[in-house]
């Protein structure tokens, strides 16, 4: 395992427990996402792995070596911050070459490595600019180049695209995945955006209130969620009492057939290829179904229409009662 986190807890001075007895193993060469809402402890856990925070209990190993208590300088981790943490008074070239200069590499080597990395992140020609003259997306790519320059064993990204607009975010997301495929550094990405996590990562670990809810492949989390939190976090979901139903698992029919419930269409929202149909059941509860454009046309659905719905798949979670 590249990274092994064992029973790590972080309690802050004010009593707040950010990370609660978390154990996690991250395979080398993988791209893992730590996914969760704000305050779930994912950033704190990442910073503990980097050595920027000390755990109150537990230990961390990187490539088999116990690094608990080892300062970040010696852990050989690359870290990318949400707000870039660019060295504003240095050029792009000096930023990217910083780690190499600290290690006293010869000037020629530093120059060639920086040029190589700038090409890798597609910032050629901007080497002599200052971070203030770059766009957000360019700054983050510079930050990545800077982190990769010293060949870290592990690359940690703390909500790296959080400060960028939606379109740039999507572009960089795809770009990061391609970069990872090429460079193969063990990477851990913290995000609150489930779409981003599912899109980019090999494995996703969902966290909530300092604890891990579930770890696994994106598809497994989506199709076999361990609990209600995971189910509602990784995708849209309808809840009817104890039953949890994915919007695309709600079948729409024009005629009842004994297993359907009656519902009225409140709103039809066209989102490109997908269409969301917002329904109100006869007992007053609201659900939404996700269908394709073709289905809408075929069934000739209209707002205000009465139709019949039936879940093709429901999930019910068992509650282990604490006796």
């Amino acid at each position: 395992m590249s990274i092994a986190v064992r029973q790590v807890t972080k309690r802050f001075d004010n009593g707040f427990v950010a990370v609660d007895n978390v154990s996690l193993a991250i395979a080398s060469g993988s791209l893992t996402a730590l996914l969760g809402p704000s305050g779930s402890g994912k950033s704190t856990l990442l910073r503990i792995i980097a050595g920027l925070e000390e755990p109150s209990a537990g230990d961390v190993s990187i490539l088999g070596k116990d690094v608990t208590g080892v300062p970040p300088q010696k852990r050989e981790v690359g870290f990318v911050f949400q707000h870039y943490a660019a060295f504003k008074h240095m050029t792009v070239r000096d930023n990217v070459g910083f780690g190499l200069k600290i290690r006293k590499r010869p000037k020629a080597e530093v120059k060639s490595r920086v040029d190589e990395l700038l090409g890798l992140v597609q910032l050629d020609g901007l080497a002599d600019r200052y971070p203030g003259q770059l766009s957000g997306g360019q700054r983050q790519r510079m930050a990545l180049a800077r982190a990769l320059a010293v060949e870290p064993k592990v690359l940690l990204l703390d909500e790296p695209f959080g400060a960028l607009d939606a379109r740039v975010r999507k572009e960089l997301r795809a770009w990061l995945r391609r970069l990872h495929d090429e460079v193969h550094v063990t990477t851990v990405l913290v995000t609150h955006d489930q779409e981003e996590a599912m899109d980019v990562a090999d494995r996703v670990t969902v966290m909530n209130e300092g604890r891990i809810e579930q770890s696994g492949k994106p598809r497994d989390l989506y199709e076999h969620p361990a609990n209600e939190f995971v189910m509602s976090f990784v995708g849209p979901v309808n809840r009817l009492g104890e039953e949890w139903i994915r919007p695309h698992d709600l079948e729409l029919r024009l005629e009842p057939n004994g297993t359907t419930s009656e519902a009225m269409i409140q709103r039809i929202v066209h989102l490109g290829f997908e269409v969301r149909v917002e329904l109100i059941l006869d007992d007053g509860r609201h659900v939404s179904a996700q269908v394709t454009r073709g289905e809408v046309e075929q069934l000739e659905l209209l707002e205000g229409q009465i139709i019949y719905v039936r879940p093709s798949r429901t999930t019910v979670f068992e509650h282990v009662s604490s006796s």
Partner: protein, 283 residues
Amino acid sequence: MRSAAGSRYTLRTVALGYLALILVIPCSMIVYYTFRDGLGPVWDALTDPSFVAALKLTLIAVGIAVPANTIFGVMCAMALVRRPPKHGTWLINSMIGLPLALSPVVVGLALILVYGQDGWFGGWLTENGIQIIFSTPGIVLATIFVTLPFVVREVIPVLREVGTDQDEAAWTLGASRFQTFRRITLPAIRWGVAYGVVLTTARALGEYGAVAVVSGRVAGKTETLTLHVDEEYLRFEYVAAYTTSLVLALLAVLTLVAMNVFKPKQHKEVADVDRGPPGYEAV
């Protein structure tokens, strides 16, 4: 709000008139009174050994107080912002703010009570043949006291604004804490430090009350430029007094220029507006 043009001119006239009466006219008179009797007396005043000695002593005091308080200022700002102590911050902040609010003669008295002959350290100092009061070290100490707050107070908000991200990034790249401080933190706060140094220097050059108390006022030996002004005036050597005043006033103008050069750069870091030197705001 669009004031009627008339009331705008009135306000402007009153404001500028007040400034002229209180500020501008008195300061311009320095030039007039210096050169009233021609260039000869001015030259005599500038080449007088006691003037030169006063200039030297002032420069010594400035040359020690400014670096000392700059080093202290940066260190203290780092301690207070990055690793604030759990208790006693109010005491530290009070000690830092006190030199701004305290009467200079009280400062002088305080130093005499500690370093004077019958002072707290007096016995030990006499035994070891060290003289502080009525001598250069006393003047330097007084200058350090009154100029203590400026660098700290200018650096603290800049340090807060800069935050820790850049430092943490440097650590993960392998830089030690000292390397990070030297290569990343210091450059990030450099305009705050520069502005603080300008203010410290200005105050050090202009201190009068505290050094008037601790100095022996021996002309040619324990006089600063400000004491020299006083001394020459009391001896009815008006041209000499005004000449020295003009030198100090020109240094003051240089300070204002430096302040206006560094202020926008410093405030770009803090995204704040014209707050003037510390003492104009209490935080």
